[in-house]
Subunit: 166 residues, 2 copies
């Protein structure tokens, strides 16, 4: 087989010995590029990808709001510093927090109008920037990809008790 495009990208002189190693590296690298692409679209609006994720989560729970740690559990990528992440969103006027009356340990977070407005901007530009990246994949490829990623996450979760305590 010819040199894989990944070894060429990373300027490796040796091919991968094992397709699983290659898949591991390819996944990390592809995700890094996607993150890069996404940040090009959203960071000009002065929020990070993690903050964008929080806003979307809160928009999905507008009626009730969400406790801080529940946000954390729903995030696509881990973010242990959730408190300060939300701090910054609050300072920016994009979210609001209030202590619950029933359980006074909890803090409910709500998205503010300003946050919703920002998201509505991004609703247009983000898919435009990201969906095209998958245009080389046929519908069947996409299904297969989702299925494979699913299988990997399952194996990962099974072996990482510390990863998430859902």
């Amino acid at each position: 087989m010819a040199q894989s495009s990944l070894t060429r990208e990373l300027r490796q002189n040796k091919p991968f010995l094992n397709p699983r190693d290659e898949a591991f590296v390819a996944l990390l690298r592809t995700a890094d590029m996607l993150r890069w692409r996404l940040s090009e679209v959203i960071e000009p609006h002065n929020i990070t990808i993690a903050q964008f994720n929080v806003l979307r989560i809160l928009r999905g729970a507008q009626s009730t709001g969400l406790p801080t740690l529940e946000i954390s559990a729903r995030m696509v990528e881990q973010a242990p510093g959730i408190t300060r992440l939300v701090d910054r969103l609050e300072t920016a006027g994009l979210v609001r927090r209030e202590r619950t009356r029933t359980d006074r340990r909890q803090v409910l977070c709500h998205i503010e109008a300003k946050g919703l407005k920002l998201l509505s901007w991004l609703d247009a530009s983000v898919p435009q920037a990201t969906e095209v990246l998958f245009s080389g994949l046929k519908p069947g490829d996409l299904d297969k990809l989702l299925e494979s990623l699913d299988s990997i996450r399952k194996a990962c979760a099974a072996r990482c008790p510390s990863l998430r305590k859902h």
Copy 2:
């Protein structure tokens, strides 16, 4: 179709409207979990994933060494702070740097014996921890996965001139 495992993982109440959106999120999340798994193995040895990557790159170029920015170009995930990253490796005695005589702007980095020794430890434990995560995939699935990721990276590179100037 039943609720996808991704929407369940992230506790979303709405399904993804678009399989491309879902693939985007699934990729970021899967990579995050892989990174987590990897860090469980290597961070006990007091190096980060990025530093591990640098050490492997330098091992692959032992005979000649590599200029600092060339390391940067070969990394799986972007690391703009390459200077300081290598600083720490040097402080830890894992790499050595020297200014080139022919081009005195360049700094050649070499891996030290201590770095090689550390890698030889990890050579055993890292594949053991990571390869099993792909055991749910048949060889054909792996090929298909690599191919799909490749297509995504190509599309990404085409649209991100700022991503890398290979």
